[in-house]
Symmetry: C3
Subunit: 173 residues, 3 copies
């Protein structure tokens, strides 16, 4: 008997737009066993504080998995154990892939497969990063292109898409 | 007899999105004594021209208060005198606070208090600044975080929120 | 007998937002003779690949006109020959004008005239570039101001305006 695919909710927004808070509140309103998949690594003081703030905002009812790179494998492994998964965030993962010189095509392909096979309700948080002027270095342009392409692919398979601005979610799908 | 709190209208958008023009037209449609609170300082040629353009767009029916830093105190002082106040813009104020090495927490806290106590209809204009790639310097990241957080707090207390793109306002609250 | 002005559809969005794809699909759904007006010049490897990808996405049913600078004149010349025109994109054209030290005021004025006189259904694609932090160089700020102003003017005369995020179009006019 094939497991039914869970609902996919995609939450995008700018930096400090309230997207993580909205995703967390929405996911917390769902019943069942919950896990938070954090792509953030505490690699410097500033980032450590950011992660600590995010952790403080999560209640004790959440299991936490920290995985900067292998989220496709993690998702495949743990999705049967949970009812609700919250992945925060895609863009940091892309940044980790680039810095680790991983095979972007293969990793994002495996991730999309894992998303489509996920039996839990899956909330995915991502940044909108392409609304400024063209960055002056090639790596930033590459990052922006990968993030934009992946956001499109996730939005295409998502059941619901929310754009968050100044803490206000607007449902666009 | 306690003064009734006035309506708060929050207008956000990117640079040159038409947000100031929309806020000015909306505020001009309100009856009564009006004042414009400008946070811009004419500190260089480019900024001087920008301010001059903004001034030219305001009719004579507006009193003008220019205050780069102490807007919380100004708002508390003048709100009983006016029916309509237009504050343009929050992000420039945050920039002035950072450059002046002010206590951000205290200043934004006092401002939020002043906003909640304002008896006039209050239009607040702010920039959306977090939709590009992560800035490569810590001050810009700090600015972006402060602006995003304050935008969320203002949107939370606002009665109406408009997102302006290419001159077109979209009501999101 | 005066030619009836064609419908103007304005499509804006961030980098890699899916705006070109949406514009192309929408324009392809219109009947008649179609032309694609590309403002992109293949001036480096990265841009060449980008243009090649865009070309691959266009079917053989489209005539292609590549014009980095003189789009006002081109539009005036060719609009009677086609039923559907797709111009992609405005911001690259502005960038070409700035790099070529053209008279921005005159060129954008002529373009707006050509748009208003166009008898074909005209799809115009543009980038939203003002949602990041203030760029640290004057040319980028100038570019951002010109792009934002022109986007406002096109949106004002457009019959329909779509904002595209993660491949999802939202009709805002």
């Amino acid at each position: 008997m094939a497991e039914k695919r869970g609902k996919i909710v995609f939450v995008i927004g700018g930096a400090k737009s309230g997207k993580s808070g909205f995703a967390l509140r929405s996911a917390s309103a769902c019943e069942g066993r919950r896990a938070y998949l954090a792509t953030a690594q505490a690699f410097d003081r500033e980032m450590e504080e950011r992660i600590a703030r995010h952790k403080a905002e999560r209640s004790e009812e959440w299991a936490v998995h920290e995985e900067p790179v292998r989220i496709a494998a993690l998702l495949k492994e743990i999705h049967p154990v949970y009812d609700v998964l919250l992945l925060d965030c895609l863009t940091l993962w892309i940044s980790n892939l680039l810095l680790g010189e991983r095979d972007i095509e293969a990793e994002t392909g495996a991730f999309l497969e894992a998303v489509s096979a996920c039996s839990a309700t899956l909330f995915i948080v991502s940044n909108e990063v392409g609304w400024g002027i063209v960055p002056d270095n090639a790596l930033s342009r590459k990052f922006r292109d990968i993030a934009g392409s992946l956001n499109q692919k996730i939005a295409a398979v998502a059941d619901e898409v929310y754009l968050v601005t100044a803490g206000i979610p607007v449902k666009i799908k």
